[in-house]
């Protein structure tokens, strides 16, 4: 007999198990596996249910819609491993001069450019973290002003197209992928501007954060400054054009666009003479590693949300919310609060999978613009990349940062940027047109 318990106890038990196992330090995927075993045993008739659970894992990740995740990561890895990303950053480095916190600003600018070439927040953060962080620390930048912008701009990769997550969100919600990709551009750009403003302001108020570079950058004349940008950065935008253009002009589905993006990245790198088999192999294996890491968690969390549903926890919570009779504004605030809470300890795709079945009917019922809602969801997910205890980018940063950087330092570095992203969120709540104006232009 499947156990029947009050929905809130089921919710507490299931979430408690996952979070407990995660906190102990078990790999996240295994925390989900463990909770799933317990949940299926309790709510799906013990052994019988358990003996039919494994096939669910098979179906959960043998999905074509998950392909762009790997391929958008591969795009980023190709540019990273071949050194093209470094050249691009070096070119941007040369463009920007005489700004307080210059290298942090370079990181934000470089990260934003790279956001338009890579759909992977992970690749973005890993590149900037490994390229720029050692240099910044060596030059005496405070770790928090060095790491904060790198992590924050990593998150922009999921707002500015191509974005693996935006594609997933829109296709799961059955709304226009094209609209969502385009809708992310302005909020993403706004965020980058805000980050730069913050860094400059902080470094001006407190010059100890980022030492002024004494080695005076040789005053480069116009063309000498711009030449690397024109040669090493501008051609990279063909990749952006291939991916976003093919989706925009209905030539390709997102899976196909991501495949084209990889081919374009390979061709561009080959044109620069940077493509070798060892580099390509490294890009492929790194992609495999990240893809396995992500999809293993997706497998665990998809089955987890199925168990939550079977236990009655999901519908219990939804019915509870339904009795509150909310206004659209209140509903939006509540949804964002739920996402930010879940985002503290959950990966983006699990968050998405757990909340979409509630949020979409709620939004449709209240007559909310769903593109607006999904952009808000993307920002909430972006914030969750930075919120402890489980924030993917915090861990990526820990992975690429020099030994001796503590996790608590990384948390502290992320904090102001979380606040800035929340600010963008507030702006979007007050002025939804920041999100929905661009897509409305192309109809």
């Amino acid at each position: 007999m499947g156990m029947i318990m009050e929905w809130y106890w089921a919710l507490v038990l299931m979430l408690g198990t996952v979070v407990g196992l995660m906190f102990l330090g078990l790999p996240v995927a295994f925390a989900f596996f463990g909770a799933n075993i317990l949940g299926v045993f309790l709510f799906l008739r013990g052994e019988i249910g358990l003996a039919l659970m494994p096939i669910e894992y098979v179906f959960s990740i043998s999905k074509f819609t998950l392909v762009p995740v790997a391929l958008f990561i591969l795009m980023g890895e190709i540019l990273f491993q071949t050194g093209m990303a470094f050249r691009a950053i070096a070119a941007i480095d040369r463009l920007i001069s005489r700004v307080p916190g210059r290298l942090s600003v370079v990181a934000i600018a470089g990260g934003t450019v790279f956001s338009s070439l890579s759909g992977s927040t992970i690749a973005n953060t890993a590149i900037l973290g490994s390229v720029m962080l050692p240099d910044m620390l060596k030059r005496g930048y405070e770790p928090k002003i060095a790491m904060g912008p790198i992590m924050a701009v990593g998150g922009i990769a999921m707002l500015i197209p191509p974005s693996a997550l935006a594609v997933l969100l829109a296709s799961l919600a059955e709304r226009s992928i094209k609209d969502l990709l385009i809708a992310g551009i302005l909020p993403g750009a706004a965020m980058a501007v805000l980050f730069v403003a913050y860094v400059v302001l902080r470094c001006r108020l407190n010059p100890r954060l980022a030492p002024v570079e004494t080695v005076a950058e040789a005053r480069l004349s116009g063309w000498d400054r711009w030449r690397p940008f024109v040669i090493d950065v501008l051609p990279l935008f063909t990749i952006f054009v291939v991916v976003v253009g093919s989706i925009f002009f209905r030539i390709a589905a997102p899976e196909e666009a991501s495949a084209l993006g990889c081919v374009a990245a390979v061709i561009v790198c080959a044109c620069y003479g940077e493509l070798t088999w060892p580099k390509l192999k490294k890009a492929l294996t790194e992609t495999a590693k990240i893809n396995v890491m992500i999809l293993f968690i997706i497998a665990g969390s998809l089955t987890f949300s199925q168990v939550l549903q079977i236990s009655g926890a999901t519908s219990g919570l939804l019915q509870e919310f339904a009795t509150w009779n909310m206004t659209p504004l209140l509903a939006m605030l509540l949804m964002m609060a739920v996402l930010l809470f879940l985002g503290a300890f959950m990966d983006q795709i699990s968050m998405m999978l757990l909340t979409l079945p509630f949020f979409l009917p709620m939004a449709d019922g209240l007559g909310m613009n769903t593109i607006w809602l999904m952009v808000m969801m993307l920002i909430a997910m972006e914030i969750s990349l930075l919120t402890p205890p489980f924030g993917l980018l915090l861990y990526i940063m820990k992975g690429v940062a020099p030994a001796g950087i503590r996790l608590t330092q990384i948390y502290a570095a992320a904090f102001p940027f979380i606040a800035l992203e929340l600010l963008v969120m507030v702006f979007l709540i007050l002025f939804p047109s920041i999100a929905i104006w661009l897509p409305s232009l192309i109809r």
Partner: protein, 300 residues
């Protein structure tokens, strides 16, 4: 103390294709107060893959479910024949068709109790720029469910499967020229990417009420009567209501889509190819029962 059975659907909770099952559950729970109760855990995919649900019923994870034949032919290959029904459920209960299906299901530990849909055909829907004027789909790349893959292929189309979430995107991007879907229950938004409907419709949307044989046999006679009676009421209701729903949907779509209608020999070719390819599929996996079922199910 009422006996509690676990109930689950192959379609999302609250969705069009789960509604009748959900109403049935409410009816049983009302009438069966101290005898039998159905605890509804929800519908696929929220509770797991739709393709594993009936297997779970067979193994006793759930006791009773509503599912379409296409989703559980991995357990009962002949379930594919449910879609090919051209007689009313009442007629096959008379002519031995239902009894044969029961025998086939019981061999896998399942019992079919009722058919919850009847009289709702599948249609071919096409996007902008893909108008056809004869029963020939060559050159068209279509999004299909396995239900009608063979039919569309036999008509010359190339096909691909995808999950439902992707249909909108595939159509929006022009990756596929069209898709198959029942006359009703199109997802919101699909009307924006659809331009044509091809008539006549073919096959019949099927949803069966399937119970675990052990759990069913283990119920008291009183409990079985309550469930079976309610199930038959909904089956009879389906025959009336689905015809109405199909008509209502046709009226609505008449304003949304351009209707391409085959007549005479074209219509005959369209329908006969559908029928032949459908039964060929059943006979391939079940050479013994396939021809028997065709005699009892088809009207030719």
């Amino acid at each position: 103390e009422a006996k509690v059975l676990q109930a689950a659907a192959c379609f999302p909770q609250g969705s069009f294709f789960a509604k009748r099952f959900e109403a049935f559950i409410d009816t049983v729970n009302m009438r069966g107060k101290d005898v039998v109760q159905l605890n509804y855990v929800g519908g696929a995919p929220a509770i797991g893959s739709p393709f594993t649900l009936v297997q779970k019923v067979a193994q006793g994870v759930y006791d009773i479910s509503s599912c379409t034949g296409a989703y559980y032919q991995n357990v009962v290959p002949e379930a594919d024949a449910w879609k090919l029904l051209e007689r009313t459920p009442a007629e096959i209960r008379e002519n031995g068709g239902w009894a044969l299906m029961t025998e086939i299901h019981r061999a896998q530990g399942l019992v079919p109790l009722a058919r919850f849909n009847y009289g709702m055909p599948f249609q071919l829907y096409l996007g902008e720029g893909h108008k056809i004027d004869k029963p020939d789909l060559s050159g068209l790349h279509l999004r299909v469910a396995p239900i009608y893959t063979n039919f569309f292929k036999a008509m010359g189309a190339t096909t691909q499967t995808s999950n439902l979430d992707q249909v909108y995107t595939l159509m929006e991007n022009g990756t596929v020229a069209g898709y198959g879907w029942p006359i009703t229950g199109l997802r919101p938004g699909w009307e924006k990417v659809t331009k044509y409907r091809v008539d006549p419709g073919f096959y019949d949307v099927d949803l069966e009420l399937i119970a675990n044989a052990g759990a069913w046999d283990g119920l008291s006679q009183q409990a079985r009567d309550i469930i079976q009676k309610a199930a038959l009421e909904y089956e009879q209701q389906a025959v009336v209501e689905d015809a109405k729903a199909a008509d209502a949907s046709r009226a609505k779509q008449a304003n949304e889509f351009e209707i391409i209608t085959f007549t005479g020999a074209d219509a005959e070719k369209w329908l006969q190819t559908a029928r032949d390819t459908g039964w060929a599929g059943v006979e391939e996996t079940s050479p013994e029962n396939g021809p028997k079922l065709r005699k009892l199910f088809a009207k030719e």
